[in-house]
Structure formats: C-alpha cells, structure tokens
C-alpha cells in the first residue's frame, strides 16, 4: 500500500545544459532509464526519496492492519489479513531493492525512517479502532494507492516501474478483498453496519489527503512531471478516486461525511467540500495520533532484532572461514 504525493522533493540539479537537454530528450522519447545510465543528480535524489518514502509506507502500513490479525473474527479473514499484511512487507522489499539500484542501502533508508528524517504516507498515523477499518483500508487506502501507482508503472526509471507493475496487481486484489469485507458488514447486523459507517467517517478525509496538497501548493511537481516520474497532478488523481469511489460507497448504503459532496453534471465528476490541510500538515510533521507509536514500534522491532542480525552475520563469517580452511 502507499502513498501520497511525494513530500518534499528536491529536484535541484547542477549538470550542464547539454547533459540535461540530452536527458530530457530521452524522457520525451519515453525511454526507460536503467541503473547504470547517466542521470541528473536531482533525478536520482528525487527517486531515492520517492521510492524510499514508498517503501517505508509499505512497512509502516503493516502496523495498523497488523493490529487486527490476532482478533480477526473468522479463520478465513484471519488468513486473508495475514496474507495481505505479508504482501505489504513484500512490496517494501521490492521497493527497497529498487531504491538500492540508485546507490543507497536498505540500512541507510531504515535509519532515516527510524530517526524521523524520512517520511512515509501520513494515512498510517491514524489508529485502527474496529474490524471495519480493515475493510475500509483495503477498499479506500489500497484504492487510493492504486490511483497513485498505476501511472508509476510507466515511470521513467525502469526498476521502479517494474516493481510497481507487480505491486499494483496485488494492491488491486487487496482493494477487491477490502470492498468484499465492507459488503459483508453492510449486509450484517445493525452493529456491523454502524461499525462500517463509523470507519468510513474516520477514514474518508485522510484518504483524500493521501493524494497530497492541491496542485497550486505542491512544490517541485513540474520537474517530476517533466522527468516522467509523475504523470498526473494530485488534484486529477484525487478527482478520479472520488468519482470511482462514491458510487461504490452508495452501493454499500453508506453516507460520506461530506455534506458538499455531489455530482456535477457539467464537469462529469463529483464536487467535494474543503479538505482540512491544517490537519494534513500536522500529521505530516509528526503530530498525528499514531506518529510516535508507529516509529516506536518499528524502532523496537529493529533494536530487539539487532542481536539476531548480528548473529547471522557472524555465523556466515565463521562458515566462510571454515570453508576456506577446509579447501
């Protein structure tokens, strides 16, 4: 899962005009850039940051859903949720590998996550308070991730584009599974229906924020567009998401927590009320309810696993030494 518009891209670059123009020609011809190709430093930096944020989002995203694995209300749902959270870990792994082709290590990226230097999608800084959150996250959070990620399958950087193809396939499975969970709740008891509505009320606005700030307020977007890292603006993707999602919610008998949400025949899409950007920036800057807990949980796993990782290295070293001695 993932993702929101890249937070704090820095596309500044210092190459010669000729070099940049030649690179831009490759972009315009839709050529794929591979790890050993020459690339502007700003392009590399932007990608490291974006892929890193994306990978961290997958990893931190395991926590809110993981919160319900041990309480899943049926064995079938327990297995499905476990498999889903495992998929997200797998996405993290491919993405770290894609970022490593740009000359950073997974350890460096992990340290940046744990120190708070690297960001991850702010959606994961909200708590999962009921079982319905598991359905809503699959349907809406994975759904929003897909909207963001489908265009990334055509990203100019080859390893990232290829990782996204595999990731998107799994995300769409997660989305269908999440919607089916919601559908089951919507046909269930009054308590289950109320649980589902409550979950939508809490997650709807944060999901719209996943697409990032309005186009006018989004820095460095133009450079990412020119470099074919980004294909659509934040607002365009958000609109597509709303247009696809509202009818699905109505089918479930749900009410969206936005009195201004209504179909606009003229534009062929839904109008919606104002997004609370103050809340968005508060959560991005670390002030969300779960920011601290998420990083603390990751740090705890990392610190408590240090002796295991160290033992694995030392053992491999001993093995090599024994093998050499035997030869």
């Amino acid at each position: 899962m993932y993702s929101q518009g890249l937070i704090g891209a820095d596309g500044r670059t210092e190459e010669t005009e000729d070099f940049l123009a030649a690179f831009q020609r490759r972009m315009d011809a839709e050529e794929k850039i591979e790890p050993n190709d020459a690339m502007p430093e700003g392009y590399r930096r932007t990608l490291v940051r974006q892929i890193g944020q994306h990978a961290h989002s997958e990893i931190v995203g395991m926590l809110p859903e993981g919160n319900w694995i041990t309480r899943a209300p049926s064995l079938k749902r327990k297995a499905a949720l476990l498999a889903k959270v495992q998929d997200e870990g797998g996405h993290g792994l491919y993405l770290y590998s894609a970022a490593e082709t740009l000359g950073v290590t997974r350890e460096q990226m992990t340290e940046e996550l744990l120190s708070g230097k690297a960001k991850y999608s702010s959606i994961f800084n909200y708590p999962t308070l009921s079982w319905a959150d598991i359905g809503i996250i699959g349907w809406l959070v994975d759904g929003a991730a897909i909207m963001n990620q489908i265009p990334l399958c055509r990203c100019s950087y080859g390893p990232y584009a290829r990782a996204m193809i595999r990731v998107c396939r799994e995300e769409s499975f997660h989305q269908r599974q999440g919607y089916e969970l919601c559908l089951t709740l919507s046909r269930g008891t009054e308590a289950q229906k109320a649980m589902l509505q409550d979950a939508l009320d809490r997650w709807w606005w944060p999901c719209l924020m996943m697409f990032g700030p309005h186009d006018g307020d989004s820095l460095h977007s133009d450079q990412s567009m020119a470099w074919k890292i980004k294909r659509f603006s934040n607002d365009d993707l958000r609109q597509k998401f709303i247009d696809a999602t509202v009818p699905q919610g109505e089918y479930l008998g749900l009410t969206f927590p936005d009195p201004e949400l209504k179909w606009n025949e003229e534009k062929g899409g839904y109008d919606h009320g104002p997004i609370d950007w103050e809340e968005f920036w508060r959560v991005v800057k670390g002030g969300g309810q779960m920011n601290r807990d998420r990083i603390t949980a990751r740090k705890k796993a990392w610190d408590e696993g240090a002796w295991v990782r160290e033992a694995a290295l030392v053992h491999a070293e001993k093995r090599r030494a024994r093998q050499l001695a035997a030869e």
Binding site: A72, A79, L82, A297
Partner: protein, 248 residues
C-alpha cells in the same frame, strides 16, 4: 457420514495444535528482526492456519453436530482446547520462537509422512500438503537455530536459554491422546526416531546439548493448560464473541 467421535477428538487435537501455533507466529507480523522474517513468519503461520481450517472443518463433520471451523475455533474456552503445551508458549525472543517451530515441525514432518497412507481421505489429503510445508519449516527453523547457536556469544546464550525453557515440552509430543486406537492416524510414539535424529543433527551443528528432562509437563490433551493460553484465546475470540451469530 456417520459420526465418529473418537476420530473427532483426535482431529480436534491436531487442529488446535496448528491453530494455536499459527496464531502465535502471526503475533510476530510487522515486528520481526528483519524484513525477510516479516515475510517468512506469516508464511509459516498461513501454512498452519490453513491446515487447522481443513482439520476443523473435517472434525465438525465427524462430530455431526453442525459445528463449523469458526464455531470450533472461536466458541470453545481454553479448557476445551486440546493443544500441546509446547505450541501455546509465548513467543519469547526470536530464539524461542524458532526453536519451538523446530520441535513442532521435526515431529509433524514424519507424522504427516506416515499419514499419507491414511484410510481417511481428508487426513491423507492434508498430509500431502503438510508434508512439504513441514519440510520447509524444519529447514527454516533449523537454519536459525544453527545460526543463533553458532553465532555470537549473546545469540548462543539466548539459544541455550530457549532449549532450557522449551525442551521439557517435547515429551508431550509423543503422548497418544485421543488418537489411541484410531486407525486413520499414525501412532505418535513411532515418530521418536525421526524426531531425535533431526534434533540431534541440528543441535550438533548449533553447538547445543540435548538436555535430560526430569519432570516433563503434560496435560494439554486433557484441557489442563498453562497460564498463557487463556489470554491468547481471550484476545483471539473477543470480536467474534462480542457479536453472537454475526457473519464476517
């Protein structure tokens, strides 16, 4: 199908072993020492929970009272659970978790191999799938027991502590329980040779000693558990029990 309560009890024991251990492994998800293990632990948990589901479903049919997998898993209290004490032990550190997994799979691999020829088609079907899964669990757990036993001073100390804490639960693996006299299931005592040889081989490479067990605990098969199963089931069953009759 005519009810077969003897086989029902025996299949339920097996199902409980798999669900409880699968649940324990699932508690690691998102908190493992490295990302690779965040993928491997849920993998093993999924194998175990998958086997438990088939066995519960089968048990429900053998009983003939209309209890399905979720009724059996979610609506029995800890005194009605029939799992081994070994599998309900808390995860502890990574050394404990991997050693517990090694003990269980080193027993279950030959067990399922013997069950391949069961007269009960569901059992032999489960065995066909589980035998491959258990071979992988042995491999994965054994690699870690060796790495940790023969790693750093700290990891060797932790691995030794895990052996001290868990080895005493292994004799219960061989107790017959409700399966005594069920032709459809292998005799558990017959797994002794294969189990001992797997453990001896892994421990030798890991630099670990097989301890003598003076007073092996037992009682899981009679519903006499330790203190850790009750809280585990309370958590696992909480949502299901809060909404009687709801479908999920």
């Amino acid at each position: 199908m005519a009810p077969d309560l003897e086989l029902f009890d025996a299949v339920l024991e097996l199902a409980d072993d798999h669900l409880v251990l699968g649940h324990r492994l699932s508690e690691w998800c998102g908190h493992a020492p490295m990302l690779e293990e965040d993928l491997a632990l849920p993998n093993m948990a999924l194998d175990l929970i998958g086997t438990a589901r088939t066995l519960y479903d089968h048990a429900g049919r053998l009983e003939g009272q209309g209890r399905d997998e979720d009724t059996l898993a979610y609506l029995r209290g800890d005194r009605a659970y029939r799992n081994l004490l070994l599998v309900e032990r808390e995860n502890g550190d990574f050394a404990h978790t991997m050693l517990r997994q090694l003990y269980f799979s080193a027993f279950m691999h030959p067990y399922w191999e013997a069950a391949l020829g069961s007269s009960d088609a569901v059992i032999s079907g489960v065995a066909g799938k589980a035998v491959k899964e258990m071979a992988y669990h042995i491999r994965h757990a054994a690699e870690w027991v060796i790495r940790l036993g023969d790693g750093t001073e700290e990891s060797a100390r932790r691995m030794g502590a895990a052996v001290d804490a868990l080895h005493l639960y292994t004799p219960e693996l061989f107790e017959e329980g409700a399966a005594a006299g069920c032709d459809a299931l292998p005799a558990r005592a017959a797994m002794r040779g294969a189990f001992d040889s797997t453990i001896a081989q892994v421990f030798a490479e890991a630099g670990l000693c097989v301890p003598e067990v003076a007073y092996p605990p037992s009682g899981g098969r009679r519903g006499l558990h330790g203190e850790e199963l009750g809280p585990m089931l309370a958590e696992m069953q909480s949502l299901h029990r809060a909404h009687p009759g709801a479908l999920w």
